[in-house]
Amino acid sequence: MSGWRLPSGGAIDRARPLGFTFDGRQFEGFAGDTLASALLASGTRILGRSFKYHRPRGLWGMGGEEPNAIIDVTDAGVTTPNLRATLVPLRAGLEARSVNASPTAERDCWAVLDLLHRFLPAGFYYKTFMAPDWMRWEPSIRRMAGLGRLDPGNRPPADAVPMNARADLLVIGAGPAGLAAARAAARNGRAVWLVEEAPAIGGALRWRGGAIEGADWEAFAADTAQTVEAAGGRVMTDTTLWGAFDHGLYAAWERRAGRGDRHWRIRAGEVVLAAGALERPLWFANNDLPGVMSAEAGLHYLSLYGVAAGRRVLVACANDAPYAVAGALAEAGAQVTLADARADTPEAPEGVRLLRGARISRARGTREVGAADVDGAHLDVDTILCSGGWTPTVHLFCQAGGKLDLDARRDALVPRPGTAPMQVAGAANGAFGLQAALDEGHRAGGGTGPAPRAAAAADWAVMPMRPDPASGGRQWIDLQNDVTFKDVKLAAQEGFRSVEHLKRYTTLGMATDQGRTANFAGLAALAAVTGRSVEETGTTTYRPPFAPVPFPVIAGPRRGELFNPPRRLPLEPAHRDLGARWRDYGGWLRPATYGEGDEAALAQAEALEARQAAGLYDASSLGKIEVIGPGAAALVDFCNYVRMSTLEPGRARYGFMLSESGVVHDDGVVLRLAEDRFLVSASSSHTASVRLMLEEARQDRFDPRQVFVHDVTAHWTTLTVTGPGARELILGAGIAEEVAALRFMRVAETAWRGVPLRAARVSFTGDLSYELSVPARHGGMLMQALDGARAAVGACWIGLEALMILRAEKGFVLVGKDTDGVTMPQDLGWTGPREKRTDEYLGRRALFTPEARRADRRQLVGLEAEGEALPVGAHAVPLEGQRRSLGFVTSSHMSPVLGRPIALALVEAGNDRLGQEVGIFHLGETRRARIVPACSYDPEGTRRDG
């Protein structure tokens, strides 16, 4: 119990106390606190347990780099796991719970694991748990692992909004360097986007303070924001720039209280990265104890929240930055000792005891810091604030392909200019001092003249600090994943000397803090152990995201109704009125059946009624692609397996579109509307690809000025009337005699009630059929007219389920269902063009490979069986001899008109097996069926003309 709230100070509202709980205990903070600052003020030290050894862990940092204070938070009844306490704004009634501890972080029963630590070195699990079997061990290991707990009842809404934007200049980070860059650029009239992760601009100025251009920094910041906005730019806070992608695309996550977050895709002309730097820990024995904190974080909590981290504080460092926190804490009333490893140091701040050339070697205490060893001396302290140097935040630079160099004076990896398409300024570039940051930012923003002047000391150097190889204790490098210096040594000893191998073998840097505080240390340690330089050792690859981003932000609104939505029929409301039940068929929402009741029974009744009287169905989803021009016939010929140029205008012919590998891509009827105008039908799900195949051939092979392709599917509503009563029905609807008198495979473009009507005598059922198309706006009129004439012939609306039965009875294929990705037209019985055509067409050559010539290819046949319908997906197997697949059932129905099951199947050498019996294997059981021709109903075609 060491942190305490100062009587005054900080940007909190002391008039608004907020109650909250942590691990069931009641606490109080203030409006403006974060969960971390409130817990620190409460004196609570143990906020979590470490991943592997269940060591007690306390607050380290102040932002996304926080490795220890990972908390499950319940707010307004909704629980979210794994939040960083440093980033959670305090709210009244908030319930926080430590992770990886049972029952609480304070009293964790798994703490015993730490006693076994010597038997659990890096990668120990690769060496054991092999007998009897990993699966025996895994469940208990899985339960031990993981951090927070998912709340199965919390289903966050899909309320994140994607936003596309262009930025002339994108400035990442609104600390001093970013502010200077943004102001300079905005003054030059550029539209600047200034993006800041924190809730306010200013960066470290917010807690360090300072005067710029003779006034308080806040005036400079406000002026910058105003200048940016006046120049057409934008200042965004609470926005994390998390990814640099190809061609200048940056992804940012904007948090908006009470509204959906935004997912920004920003295309930036130029970029200035001014993301600052993160303080590194120091390495000494037990450097993971609660009470060991980042020195800069100590200043952050003091300035912004009025919280002092301890009463007896050791500040350990080897650079100038922590002098400010030492001075401020002393001023606040803490007893402060400053141990600087350098011999040559600045003056001690007032009230601070300065030890020059002094290093901390050990923290003492079992559950939290109780003392520290500094150069062999025992210091009675309750808090250790460390600064092991600074790591520039170069992630986005590296994501964009940038390379790093070691800056020895600053002991940091800094961007190598020119290796990524962005400028880097300020601490992110190794310029740690305030004036240096302003200078670099000003220049990066294209500023001319002098940079803003700060009343601050010059830039300073950093003395390299490294883990002590002679230390007897455990020095933590990755706090969250429990990786120590010894683990790094062991990895190197076992040959895991590539930095990627080190990461993977020890898990260093792979925790939720993404190694923010660990990576440089691990790298430096590996370098030291292997006798290489830091640069030779290299870094792991930086990839998005820079910080963990909620899945819903990236996923956006594409959920439920907006996820892969099917295309919709214009007449959908009318079908709904008729009682349609809907299903997605090939990417279109279409009626499956009509009315109430069992779907299969409805489909049977509809199919039977269609055969006995007539059926009506909405065929608007059928693709309609016009091919127009003097070159149309040649193009259609090339793209179809069946020659269409021999069609006379006003006639139709069935054909196939093949891929160049000879496989049936689609089937459908081609109508020749005029000498130079064809209408190519495509199945609902293939319209786009068929159009593209036509376009490709048109542009690549033909004179593209002589033939054109128009997909006009959506312009038309198509209703089909099929069955013996079809003619009577359309006459009853007032459709002209000339249409009713059309012969099979003829098409007429005419008019009905003054609107264009195209009628085609094509049939997908084998029965007399009229396919009637009118412009979509007149679809309702056509539907009404047909529906009105329905009763007189006893016709009914049929859904897709009934239509599937009708076409299967006739052996008509559905490409993709009754064909697979190797089915060629000859496998469907269409051998003519392959044998006879001498001109080129898509897929032609592939129909003659050795495989395509085999006699035992799978061919489409019918199956006849007793009893119930055969299961689709069942396989045909020989009745005798070795059991193997001869093929499989592709469509299967009970035929209401035949009163028995029918099925289609692709069967090896099926045509040679006609009349033979095969076994039909399904999930371990085998029935018998006879192979018959695919067409099982009206094979003579007597019903075609009614």
């Binding site: 748990f129 990993w134 990839r543 496989v663 697949s885 294997f921």
Partner: protein
């Protein structure tokens, strides 16, 4: 070699773990070998191991231009399974699965094979029919495959979105109980360690720049560490294979694409199986550490850059949340991309090619990890005997000219 055990850990733990030796020797290349394998990923290392162990070959080198297992072996979603449609595929992937089943003990390295089962989930009656087609094919090919009902699927995966507003409610699917996940790095390291113990030289940081041939025979490779002679050269370099093969005049049917994977922050166990959802194309499992490991479709632009692109991330993650709305509580922690070598029929190319003595093992596309033991086993067989193993014969490069593609996506309607 057999010194990894709980007992050894205890013993060495008492002495500060000073006794552990490097997992594999850091070899410098010798001037000549009996066999050289280009590519130190899982397939290359497994090939070397089986050449030494099964075929008694001794002078073997594996040349890796980067670090071992740094290609797709270390960039995948770690699923292992053999739920395929064609007998040729089943034979191949089930050989791999059977070898995986004994691998930890064979290598004395815990590859953490977790046979937690995998569901390929369907959401339309049409997809259920396809699932039945595959499950029956699996059974006829003597592999465990079940057609699972929707209720059974939800019992196993209770967080699946079955609400009325769900775009794709699960109707069931194909269940393979023997499928699961394994620790990807460990597979590479385990093979490397075992191969090294058998005398294989594993050379990291060695880039092959040319293939050497004389009179229609392979005679070795040129590298940035000098010339290495060998009469048998195996190429197992994934996306780098086309360029290498081209040096010997061999053209390959490969396009290279980036395939991304995503990892969430770790949470306590919430998903106990591997799941591939046909409706969304998103697949996932939960790692032992508690992270969700998620994959989906390819980035659509051919590339050799190991970088993921935003549109694919949005697609995959929206699919994830549509399937599992509670996962909206989680955050994306890591993301990476591997460059996968995709063949038109999405089946691998294994076999001799071009000059005598040159052998290929490539074209694994998105599915190479699960096949590592088989890929190594079969390439080793080829390199040792000069002839195909019966299981690899259908995957010969010659299948393209013959038109004999083994297209699972086409045959089963499911892209693998």
């Amino acid at each position: 070699m057999h010194d990894y055990s709980a007992f050894a850990l205890l013993r060495r733990g008492l002495t500060g773990h000073r006794g552990w030796r490097p997992a594999w020797r850091k070899a410098r290349p010798k001037p000549a070998y009996d066999a050289v394998i280009v590519g130190g990923g899982g397939h290359g290392l497994a090939t070397a191991y089986y050449l030494a162990r099964r075929h008694g070959m001794r002078r073997i080198a594996v040349l890796e231009k980067g670090w071992l297992g740094g290609g797709n072996t270390g960039r995948n979603t770690t699923a292992v399974r053999s739920n395929y449609f064609y007998p040729e595929s089943v034979a191949l992937y089930d050989l791999a699965l059977r070898l995986y089943e004994g691998l930890s003990r064979e290598l004395n390295y815990n590859v953490m094979l977790s046979q937690r089962g995998m569901l390929i989930a369907a959401h339309t009656p049409a997809q259920m029919e396809i699932c039945a087609r595959i499950a029956n094919a699996m059974r006829l090919n003597s592999v465990d495959g079940e057609l699972m009902s929707g209720e059974a699927a939800v019992r196993r995966i209770p967080l699946l979105n079955q609400e009325a507003g769900a775009r794709y409610r699960c109707l069931g699917g194909i269940w393979q109980g023997r499928a699961g996940v394994a620790r990807h790095d460990a597979v590479a390291w385990g093979y490397a360690r075992a191969a090294s113990d058998l005398g294989v030289d594993i050379v990291e940081g060695c880039t092959v720049t040319d293939l050497l041939t004389e009179g229609g025979r392979v005679t070795g490779v040129e590298t940035d560490m000098g010339t290495i002679r060998a009469e048998r050269v195996g190429l197992a370099a994934a996306g780098a294979t086309p360029a290498l093969a081209a040096k010997a005049g061999v053209r390959l049917p490969i396009h290279t694409y980036a395939l991304q994977a995503f990892v969430s922050e770790p949470v306590k166990p919430c998903l106990d199986t591997v799941l591939l959802y046909l409706g969304t194309g998103t697949y996932l499992s939960q790692s032992d550490k508690g992270e969700l490991v998620i994959g989906g479709g390819l980035d659509r632009v051919p590339t050799h850059g190991q970088r993921g692109n935003l549109p694919a991330q949005e697609t995959v993650l929206s699919g994830l949340l549509e399937m599992f709305p509670p996962f909206g509580q989680l955050r994306l922690l890591r993301q990476w991309a591997g460059v996968v070598d995709v063949v038109p029929d999405s089946s691998p190319v294994i076999g001799p090619a071009g000059p005598e003595g040159l052998y290929l093992n490539c074209g694994w596309g998105t599915g190479g990890f699960k096949a590592i033991p088989a890929g190594g086993w079969l390439l080793a067989h080829l390199m040792a005997t000069g002839t195909h193993h019966e299981i690899s014969r259908p995957f010969d490069l010659g299948r393209f000219a013959e038109g004999r593609l083994i297209d699972e996506a086409a045959g089963a309607g499911i892209a693998h």
